[in-house]
């Protein structure tokens, strides 16, 4: 949506890794331990293969329609990167029935809000409205699932908007550039190496034919999951979905290749120069994600590990690196256990004034090594679990969050019906398991490390030489 304006801020202002991911992928990833939707949803499969999941929420007379296609930037090819996201923009450019611009106008006039987001795994479209207007959203979504106009003239304008978006979110954001470079270095073969928004040169050469091709290949009912949440009865919600989507023909989807990343054979380091005052360090290790919510345990242990490192103000990273050592101005850890593609475990740090990237890196490594050697305390474990339990309850205060969580879980190939089970699994994680995954995965052969080399603005004096204390601290 235009101009997100938050209502409070806190210091320090450095980008938190989860926020960072969200911003850059234009994708809403789930925070590792912010789970919540319980599995009181129900679901059906239409005869054309489309899944419909209904999540009841009777607190308010509102409805959410969230339609996700299991296709994202990981399904693109070199030369046409960014096509999934460009198509998302074009989905608002009209059909024969609903000309360009009308989609947003109709939803707005109904008092609704709409938008979309594209990620590596999926492309999702949502409407939030008063419950009496749900049919409008479903009708419009069904229409553009098959009847999108995709006019060359509209595309010529819209691709310029997409390039502005890339400039705004990535090219002029030093931390976003570091992340983009890290991914491109951490993955050689897997498509997760490419930015969701696409490389600028690919955007410049993207053609409407590329977009049409992508649309016709992937936008089909058997590649979609519709989540309806709100104040309805299940049968009522399903009947509405069937009415609008039931007659759409299924289609044979292209074959997806696994594109498994070859094992990493040693540490990778890259430097990124961009205008900034402070350096920045981003470390990423290859780790597993959930494939079987019932039998896997490592992803749950990694969730707990993130919490131990960065789950609260007294967690290890902020306590030791920011408060005790004073080596970092800001530090974060991040991991999402739910994705179609491979997982990454992140630690990022902004060195304190007078501290260097190498000094900060050494401090991060020492902290992790201590955890690997000595494990975590029962208090730390209990604290993370308490937060998981509370977050599960808090999540129910947002109907959209619940719908999104169901959809993203399904997009990753994990049944949404395991969401409650996942909480239980998290609660069963032991201190030994956390130590074990840290030892197994947070090692150099798995690590890619990208760091920002700040380029002071013209006319400013360069930052003080490394290692020499500055006016404060």
């Amino acid at each position: 949506m235009n101009s997100l304006r938050g209502h409070s801020y806190s210091i320090p202002p450095s980008v938190r890794i989860r926020v960072l991911l969200m911003l850059m992928l234009s994708c809403l990833l789930l925070a590792a331990n912010a789970r919540g939707a319980d599995s009181d949803g129900t679901d059906i499969r239409l005869s054309n293969g489309m899944r419909v999941i209904f999540k009841p929420d009777h607190r308010s007379p509102v409805a959410v329609s969230l339609l996700c296609y299991r296709v994202g930037s990981m399904d693109e090819f070199n030369g046409t990167t960014g096509v999934a996201h460009a198509l998302e923009h074009m989905m608002f450019k009209g059909t024969p029935e609903v000309p360009a611009g009308q989609f947003s106008r109709l939803i707005s006039a109904a008092g609704g809000r709409e938008n979309a987001f594209t990620g590596k795994d999926a492309t999702c479209y949502f409407e939030m409205l008063q419950k009496s207007k749900l049919d409008l959203a479903l009708k419009l979504e069904a229409d553009r699932m098959t009847h999108l106009t995709l006019a060359a003239s509209d595309f010529a304008e819209e691709i310029k908007v997409v390039m502005e978006e890339r400039r705004m979110r990535t090219d002029d954001q030093p931390h976003a550039l570091v992340y983009e470079h890290l991914m491109a270095a951490a993955f050689m073969a897997n498509p997760y190496r490419r930015p969701v928004i696409g490389w600028m040169n690919d955007l410049e050469h993207l053609r409407i034919q590329d977009v049409r091709h992508f649309y016709h290949e992937w936008y089909a009912p058997d590649n979609a999951v519709l989540v309806i949440a709100g104040d309805f009865k299940p049968d009522d919600a399903f009947a509405r979905a069937r009415r609008y989507f039931g007659d759409i023909k299924s289609r044979k989807l292209p074959l997806r290749k696994p594109q498994v990343e070859p094992p990493q054979r040693g540490i990778r380091r890259i430097a990124v120069k961009a205008p900034a005052e402070l350096p920045f360090l981003l470390m990423g290790w290859h780790v597993p994600v959930l494939r079987d919510a019932r039998t896997d345990w490592e992803p749950y242990a990694l969730d707990v590990l993130v919490g131990v490192l960065d789950g609260n103000g007294a967690a290890r990273l902020p306590r030791i690196l920011v408060k005790e050592n004073g080596v970092a101005n800001d530090v974060d850890a991040g991991y999402s256990d739910t994705s179609r593609g491979p997982g990454m475990f992140y630690v990022s740090a902004t060195p304190a004034i007078g501290k260097t990237v190498p000094q900060t890196e050494v401090a991060v490594r020492a902290l992790l090594q201590r955890l690997i050697d000595n494990g975590i305390t029962p208090d730390e474990l209990a604290r993370v679990k308490a937060q998981v339990v509370a977050d599960q309850v808090y999540a129910r205060d947002s109907i959209f969050f619940q719908a999104r969580q169901i959809a993203m879980t399904e997009m990753a190939g994990i049944p949404y019906t395991t969401l409650d089970l996942q909480i239980e699994k998290l609660k069963q994680v032991t201190a030994e398991q956390v130590q074990q995954v840290a030892k197994k995965y947070l090692k150099d052969d798995n690590l890619t490390l990208a760091y920002l080399v700040p380029q002071p603005l013209h006319g400013r004096k360069p930052a003080p030489p490394h290692g020499i204390p500055h006016e404060v601290h």
Binding site: P13, A100, S108, A109, R113, E164, A315
Partner: protein, 447 residues
């Protein structure tokens, strides 16, 4: 770019509610023994309790010499209080999954707690909250560390075009007024701040008589009353007279500032002082601005700048009504060599809107959205909590939500034209462009 969002409690957005068609949350109101105002909505749907408290202690009470004092005071509350170290506070809250966050804008500063409503859990959470609120210690070493971090973060943020743009913009819109200071402060002023400054500010501004408490969640009225009493018992009552922010004056003339920057996009901000929260033109401007640039994908600015010309990903306008006249802002980012064209389009769109007003169809569409979208605005405890805070702090009627539909419906084209003519003079606007190409250096106001 959190540092640019100095004062963006989404006051305008938070108040876009409407209509008695749906069940309105029943607001109960009272004052604590020492004078704090309390607004409460019981909601038993979820076992959650949300509590917030706001004081007239935002950056509008800063001075240029001590710019950043209000923010630093608020920030330090949670970093040592009532015999607890900062880590003790974090751990005690994390142990029970509670969240204690800071609230801060130009007018208000305070705290918000979210906890499970279970009696023993909330007791522990409220105990920490109360101590943080009433017995902050402002430990000297923590203060120095946090000040250093903040200065470093500000200096880093000051290399970004968006930060430079918003900082310059408020300085030009509010010369000699605290709304022109950025909430986080200036490094030079922060370096001179002392712990005593914080203690002073806290003592003067965090007083019961001017506090507004909002409570939403699964507790009874008796519980809520006890909670509010316990929270505020340790606060000084404070003087009868609330602290004041001086009035805002009109701009004397248009002013344009072009600032070079190596980024690929230029950041553009255009605007002037807008309205106070108490202004009778609030609703005409709310509906009118929805048409101009507040309606997301259906606004005139989006249509002209993004849809027709592909000049920007994001273009918007908003009023930010405050205690005094908060800013009216139009903002966008565009590739550098398009700045001239973008400025012309934005200025033409604004001039035409002020001269001719919106069409009847546009007004109807805006009203439909504001009224029809009402349920979405109160569909969570969090959102209701924000309303209570705004209603309490700006002294809006308790029937505000009930009356909203009527107020929106009553707005006419003529009202909108009159209100815009009164508050936005297209010949007296501040324009800031950060990252302008050298060729765009001419003042665009000579259009």
């Amino acid at each position: 770019m959190k540092f640019t969002s100095v004062a963006k409690f989404i006051v305008a957005a938070a108040l876009c509610a409407a209509g008695p068609v749906w069940a309105m949350p029943a607001i109960q109101q009272w004052h604590t023994a020492n004078g704090a105002r309390v607004l409460f909505v019981q909601n038993k749907d979820l076992p959650i309790l949300d509590v917030s408290i706001d004081f007239p202690a935002g950056s509008g009470y800063d001075t240029a010499e001590k710019s950043g004092l209000a923010n630093m005071t608020q920030h330090m509350l949670r970093l040592g209080a009532g015999g607890m170290s900062e880590d003790d506070i974090s751990r005690k809250l994390a142990d029970i999954g509670a969240e204690l966050s800071g609230r801060f804008d130009r007018d208000r500063a305070g705290l918000a707690l979210r906890t499970l409503a279970d009696a023993s859990i909330r007791k522990q959470a409220l105990d920490v909250f109360t101590r943080v609120l009433t017995q902050p210690e402002f430990p000297e070493s923590v203060f120095k560390r946090e000040r250093g971090r903040l200065i470093a973060a500000i200096e880093d943020a000051d290399t970004r075009p968006g930060t430079i743009a918003s900082r310059t913009f408020v300085q030009l819109v509010y010369p000699d007024h605290p709304y022109g200071l950025r909430g986080v402060g200036e490094p030079a002023a922060l370096r001179k701040l002392t712990r005593d400054d914080l203690v002073h500010f806290y003592t003067a501004h965090y007083t019961a008589r001017h506090a507004v408490i909002a409570i939403v969640g699964d507790v009874t009225l008796d519980d809520a009353q006890a909670i509010a009493e316990r929270m505020t018992r340790g606060l000084p009552a404070g003087s009868a007279q609330a602290p004041v922010i001086s009035p805002v004056h009109d701009l004397a003339a248009a002013e344009t500032r072009m600032i070079p920057h190596p980024a690929s996009q230029a950041h553009i901000l255009i605007g002037c002082p807008g309205i106070a929260r108490s202004d009778p033109d609030y609703f005409p401007l709310l509906v009118g601005n929805f048409v101009l640039g507040g309606g997301g994908f259906v606004s005139r600015l989006t249509d002209e700048v993004r849809d027709k010309r592909g000049l920007a990903y994001s273009v918007y306008s908003y009023f930010e009504p405050l205690q005094r006249r908060g800013p009216f802002v139009i903002g966008m980012q565009t590739r550098k060599n398009q700045v001239k064209e973008a400025l012309t389009v934005v200025r033409d769109t604004l001039r035409k809107f002020i001269a001719d007003g919106p069409t009847a169809a546009e007004v109807k569409a805006a009203q439909d959205n504001l009224i029809g979208g009402f349920p979405l605005r109160i569909d969570s405890n969090r959102k209701i909590l924000e309303y209570l805070g705004v209603i309490g702090f700006y002294d809006l009627p308790l029937t505000y939500l009930d009356d909203f539909r009527e107020h929106v419906e009553a707005v006419s084209i003529a009202d909108i034209k009159r209100a815009f003519a009164r508050h936005v003079d297209p010949d007296k606007l501040v324009t800031v462009v950060v990252g302008a190409a050298p060729s765009a250096g001419k003042s665009p106001s000579q259009k």
